[in-house]
Symmetry: D3
Subunit: 232 residues, 6 copies
């Protein structure tokens, strides 16, 4: 059994699609997300002429990513969970982008989940950042993290409370068992971007909160290292 | 100017609609939310025959609640922000409900914002709990908080980081100025239900997190007292 | 019991929302409608450059306005009854507006029913006119009814045939019992704007029509007086 | 020019579609409506087991029925005008049906406008009644008007005020010129079913109302005679 | 019984709607389609300024065209079969149009099925071409087939395999019995535009394919002759 | 340059997703499709109790599969091309399934295009068959092709006419250049399932048709061999 403060194994394949260097096949244990960033040389209507760019994200689970099969979100409304997740991914990625430095360019980061085993939203942020970084270098050649549109890196993981025990990086089985689960998004330099802690039919106290955040920091430091390595 | 650790003035009118005792006109400063709880003696399809009930919430801003006028969400899709908010309200309310003790009953809590001046989602949780408590007493006569379907009370407030200063209970102007804002949902007994801290284009550190949570606890203790008074 | 030729009690609270003087909480017996008029300094695409303005209305019942709870009209189509009612409100209000005198401005009148006990569409017209009048004075300062964009006032009531008896101002119970019901919209100067008489599974003759119209005129004269008083 | 109290020429072809005897090609001047009534041996969910039937109508204008071409109402929402018209047709037809005598059967009357030259809703009612009558005889063999599910016949026409002159049966050109227009639905025995008088940007007085109704009665008497002849 | 290589009787009424010469009532046996072509002096956004026109088609079955009644495609999504058919009609018609010669004009061909007895898509192409030809002559006066925007004529029929026998022009009953059915679209000069052969739960071999195509050519030659006659 | 009668290189990875053996990553040149078959032990409503199963397919292109990015089909209607393609895939797969032998089971084959370079629909059929075959063996253990629910194998390719030359297996560039393109679906035993030949703004004659079909047979024989090998 994986220790309570250890991440699942991560695998990152940059340039997975021959047609787009900013395509990343990101695996965290059995969770597989294909993240592709598309650069467009225009901006949404509300930003035209303001001298700044935009970054947005879309999240989707393929029908075969779960068992039983997940019904396709089509021909109707996008469900609440999906909307919430893709708003989170977009906000997280934007938190490390200097939109003025990006110029009037847009980057859409698509996160399509090929196989889901828990943690798909945090995998989307962590893998999506890599795709974003590549697309940003296309938009502003010669830029690096900390020098150009990217002010920092960003990564995410989940932590949870199962009975009285805190655990890092919940897979589906752990997530199902968790009384409280929390998604934490942090920059490479160790500052918080988002904390979303939720106790569906449960609650938590200050001490548990502290332990959950401690584990999250351990995980995110490791993910940051892997992102930097993949971008080399 | 309101001190940084003081809530806006709260006003609670229980039984605002003659036709429904579980209707609450909740005001927090200039924010006005009409919360009505409707009891139905059935449950959603996936709960039929399981001997437990359900609590859900819907959130809506009236077009005249903002200036300029907010377009009505109709004849199409519900926007992402609305979906996210009503999911938060529903989860928060359910965290203090013993669904088995509710029996096969459903309660829908409608939170319609008549006037919006920041903090509409936290007002919806705090006011919505009062409407929920009354409807719960209709479902299970003689029950009280802690004795029957309601395990505890629940309330919410927002806190934020403006420049380097932490503030309690953001109105629209403060919210607009905030670099980081955080919604905190807690039970009457002081345990966390939800923490949603978000730095759109900004980040925060451990010390700021601690101060934000300290302010939130002050506010929620005060709101809990007002809820109890209103339900008397 | 209310005499057959007498209106329910009317209460009108102008400036109900602090953020918008053109907001009116209109009560007719237990029916409560919040009418807010929003002025926009532009016109719909088909009127651009024609030197005239536009007035339109939206009507909505809040879920808690009825018992059992009314399902929200969202994420799909607006139902036929709603569409029909808001078209009626819009036409009625426009009948007293000189759109050229309004200039290239639009006014949207939102009629949100907080509590429904029959007569919500006629309450929306009568209350909506008050909100419209205030917004018109914002658009054309110094204008009055009869001098500026507002050519006249407009108000509405319902009348019905219950068995062989004609009744003024149907509340829910009377409306349910009525064989024929008729909505009548008239100007302050006593001219007809709309007559919509409907016999669902029933019919009526000339004499009954005459008596229904006589009652409607009594009611509308009284409503006109109350509108004028509220606008003082 | 057609006298002010004379209908356009009417032509009625019963059994227009070989596959359905209850199909009627109804022409009023250049207005052409194909009315088909479909009998179904079941009822909508809310009527199951109540021992009564249902009659409903759908109205549609074909794209080629107007010039310029009318956009098809598809893949989205049905517009307000269409909804309002088909509700009027349905109510009008039901006013002469004894739903108990119909048994647990449903009749849908489809009114598809092949060519539109004003008066399509009244043509739909007048022609739709003929299709309904045939379908009713299929449902209850041997029944006749006045003896069985059909209590009476029903027909409709429009009247209008153009300047100071009242006119019967408005074609598109007259309708466009009219300050006030009124649709009147009456039974064969001369009782009112619906009166919908509307003054878009205009109003009318008692005397004008009386003259409009007088003309409508002349027209409807003539239409009733033609319906009876067609059903022979 | 109709011989296996003979079409159903065809009837073509050009100018069926007085308001539009490019309206054709096309009958093939009991199948009746109203085809109307509407000329618009503009083009879709993606063609603006390219010096060429556009031709598109819409297909629809009226509810009364089948028994039992066909539900109207409204207030939601257009079903797959409809989409597929109208794309086929559009492509087929465009195959004989020189879009440059049409200039910056659009022609929409509406094919509304009044009665359906098999072969509605091929009837729509054959009848739709006649309406298109008339509208083309409105757009480019003096043009003829082969001289102007119309490079050729186009017509369509279906063929099928029933057991071991090949049949031309399937009506509903034959279509229902067919193991393989094939729609063939050809120009007046005898070249293929589309071949769509489908074996739902069945397959076919080379020899059967050859015989199906032979029958289709016989039918299309006859239809072409009738089109030319109708356009005289 | 690839010879005119040679397929692109094919690569087939069976069991690509650890969670589902019936998942196939199918590559044809640069086109990549993930085909997953999900077995459900029920049938659609219209088949309940009929003792037979159902096979259906869904097709989707991921946004990153094309450059520029393809807008996601969400929150609205599925476009015509998608609908048409997934209907084709479903029909093609069903042509080789004995639905009675499948029992009351359903199989949904999802074809998600990760990278699109022409021929995505034929790749979906060829790869989808492999996924279907595995799921069928899950439903009916011990069954093989020709012995159990699968009567035969099925595969597909495209052929086209570019100027006067016929080509097998069109990639995006060839497809773009083609005057006529044809999708051919055949069984492993060499019978036709579907022929869809289309000349958008072009036509073809008998001789060209013969050559196109000849090439298609060469390609399909090769694909059939690869399918069999992959299923070993």
């Amino acid at each position: 059994m994986r220790p309570h403060d250890q991440l699942r194994e991560v695998s990152i394949e940059v340039g997975y699609l021959a047609s787009n260097p900013a395509s990343v096949l990101y695996k965290s244990g059995s969770t597989i997300v294909l993240c592709t960033a598309s650069l467009e040389t225009n901006v949404p209507p509300w930003l035209v002429g303001k001298g700044k760019g935009w970054v947005t994200a879309e999240y989707n689970m393929l029908p075969g990513s779960t068992s039983p099969r997940k019904k396709r979100e089509r021909g109707g409304k996008v469900d609440g969970r999906t909307t919430e997740i893709q708003r989170l991914i977009g906000r997280s990625l934007r938190s490390v982008v200097d939109l003025e430095a990006l110029g009037e360019n847009s980057i859409v980061v698509d996160c399509d989940v090929l196989q889901a085993d828990g943690g798909t939203r945090t995998a989307s942020i962590t893998g999506g950042f890599i795709a974003l970084a590549i697309a940003t270098q296309q938009a502003v050649p010669g830029s690096t993290i900390g020098n150009g549109p990217l002010k920092d890196s960003v990564a995410a993981t989940s932590v949870g409370l199962i009975g009285e025990e805190c655990k890092l990086d919940l897979d589906y089985e752990l997530d199902f068992a968790a009384d409280v689960d929390m998604n934490v998004v942090m920059t490479g330099s160790g500052r918080f971007v988002e904390i979303q802690g939720t106790g569906e039919e449960a609650t938590f106290d200050d001490q548990q909160l502290a332990e959950l955040l401690r584990l999250a920091k351990i995980g995110i430091a490791e993910l940051t290292a892997q992102q930097i390595a993949a971008l080399k």
